[in-house]
Symmetry: C2
Subunit: 389 residues, 2 copies
């Protein structure tokens, strides 16, 4: 290289699963040579199911038409914005103006960077949950903001400790990431929790960004932070079809909030990409029409899988919460064991990959995370391998 | 809003066409009420044709399968990287290692931001062509780099003036955007030009990023800057299926260069998005197999359209280069006329939208740009309206 990369990239490592997937590919090649079966990957939360059939039919029909192949508007087609609004009304009891309070995204991961670039100056502080999704941190680093971790602890139900937050020096804090049902913890929000978060943000002039992709997976009810009266003024919420509709690879997400915020986000987004391929937008419209039956069936399978994951946790002596939501089972290892050691031992000796909790922050060090994006058969095979170790 | 947007967004306006499309929507509503036909939009370069039929068949077949809906690898599927490498070998005579010298992108526009965030620190200088694609500037602003415009002038064939460049203070310049066939100018590169650019970058330790999406449209030959011996060491090249394969809405692009650069780019990219939807990647593989016949047919239509665009330029008294390449005709208005005035007059009085050259930089002020992404019939209707003004 004749030049050096920017300093903002120095603190950012290649995304953990990007590195780990390459390692597993190498290991699998070795295992194949040695006549061993492939590693059972219980790492990433990539739904293995099929999207609603109407969505598939739509993309197959629309993609072969004339006149659908050009650039799409940055704001998304009106049908999609209306479908997101109807979905929010139906499931979250939240009114959104499709004309100005919704911005479709090429997946909500993209949204994390766009929102960070839109609102964070170099040196601005941003509250990031520990444990939490690593992209909140890396996107903040891309914007050269300073990360202020806030603790989520099991003894507090993985909720923020508001007393501790109030005692922190909040000078210069401009934004706060929240995520319920939480990844990796599976903790579900309550209306009361969301009220507290909205109130905290409003009093301290901190923009709350709630990341809400898991609210249809193993949940008791579908909650949105935007249901709190007056929330839009100080909160954004991101959502996605990745988990609820088995469409992770399709890259379909959204952010909702007050029109002024959405306008600023659009300003940045319109510099960096174009609208989503029209047939995919039309398919998303169909997927968003899915009724409770779709989710009941989807979750029946995830509940079956969770039972096997619990047994893996049992074998490892880990404790877990059977009422947790989302695509993962999050387990606390016996006193003195670290997730990274257990994960490596399982990978190298049992041929099973389970994510070590440290990658989500220091409060995750004694935990491991099992993805439910694997069939019952696969999970049972993993259980057997872990048992035989 | 309870917080203010980041300063990096203050200098960035909403993307020009985003604003203009909204204005046209409003005007069209008024025109409909007044019984007038819609505005003829000869603005944006969004190909209106249909992609290679094999690509359409592939997406329709693949998208309805099981097992294709999860997250895809950040590096793209091997089939796609191999197809890009084969395409570069076949048409540009450039050898690329599909394993490490190619990174697929969700469109090359996304790549402009990723590359800027990867290599530009706050305060680093970046050479940006004037006139040129506005996104080079706005992505640099997102990275908080300082823009140094370099002049492209008609009298110099829209090539950089290397004598002037050498006389500039190049202290702190880290990157240079180049783009041939040029947008908006249509100027075609030569091997000699690319050699000079590579040499300039190497001597001054400036990373050259050549944006090459137009090399199949109305060109004499397909040229890549990477064909220059040793170019990979100091150059990146972006390319895309948007124009050459009528797939602008699909968001399929790539960047190629030395493995070390690609690795750094992947580090940033893996923080901000996921891989492209697998059926779209497989469709891209098919599209990239298109032979010379595809391009001959595609260009026959663009040449027909260009003839009508020339006549519009003639009516306006503008001069243009019949040997220019790409999706646009770029015309110099008669002495004393500004593009913005002519564009507004045509929009408000003739119901025809033609892009004013100033949006590409001060050297474009006396120019206008007609998009060839409109049928001959549409262009002829526009010609009539301009004639009757």
């Amino acid at each position: 290289m004749i030049i050096q990369p920017a300093t903002r990239t120095l603190s950012v490592k290649e995304y953990y699963f990007s590195v780990k997937n390459k390692e597993m590919a190498r290991l699998n090649a070795q295992r194949a040579e040695a006549g061993l079966d492939s590693i059972i990957n219980l790492g990433i939360g990539s739904p293995d199911g099929t999207p609603p059939v109407e969505a598939l039919q739509t993309v197959a029909l629309e993609a072969v038409k004339d006149g659908v192949h050009g650039y799409q508007s940055y704001t998304g087609i009106p049908e999609l914005r209306k479908a997101f609004a109807a979905w929010y009304k139906r499931y979250y009891n939240v009114e959104l103006d499709p004309a100005c309070e919704i911005q479709p995204l090429t997946g909500s991961k993209e949204g994390i960077l766009i929102i960070s670039l839109t609102f964070l100056n170099k040196g601005d502080k941003v509250l990031v949950p520990d444990p939490g999704y690593p992209t909140y941190t890396s996107a903040s680093l891309m914007a050269e903001a300073d990360i202020v971790k806030y603790d989520l602890k099991e003894e507090n139900g993985w909720y923020p400790d508001f007393d501790a937050l109030e005692k922190m020096d909040l000078t210069g804090v401009k934004m706060m990431w929240t995520n319920y049902p939480g990844m990796p913890t599976g903790a579900q929000a309550t209306k009361e929790l969301y009220r507290k978060i909205v109130d905290f943000g409003r009093r301290h002039k901190i923009l709350i960004v709630n990341d809400n992709p898991y609210s249809f997976i193993r949940t008791r009810e579908h909650l949105s932070i935007l249901e709190v009266p007056g929330a839009k003024e100080g909160c954004l919420e991101m959502n996605s079809l990745s988990k609820a509709h088995n469409m992770a690879g399709w890259r379909l997400g959204m952010v909702a909030g007050e029109a002024d915020y959405i306008k600023e986000i659009l300003k940045v987004k319109s510099q960096m990409d174009s609208g989503i391929f029209r047939p995919l937008q039309l398919a998303a419209v169909k997927a968003l029409e899915a009724g409770e039956d779709w989710f009941t069936e989807l979750n029946a399978e995830y509940y079956r899988r969770a039972e096997v994951a619990y047994r893996i946790m049992d074998v490892l002596g880990a404790t877990y919460n059977r009422n947790a939501a989302g695509l993962f089972v999050w387990g606390r290892l016996p006193e003195g064991q670290k997730g990274v050691d257990v994960s490596d031992r399982l990978l190298y000796n049992a041929g099973v990959f389970i994510t070590p909790g440290f990658i989500f922050g220091k409060n995750g060090e004694n935990y491991i995370r099992i993805s439910l994006c694997a069939t019952v058969e696969k999970l049972e095979k993993a259980l057997e391998k872990v048992r035989n170790l």
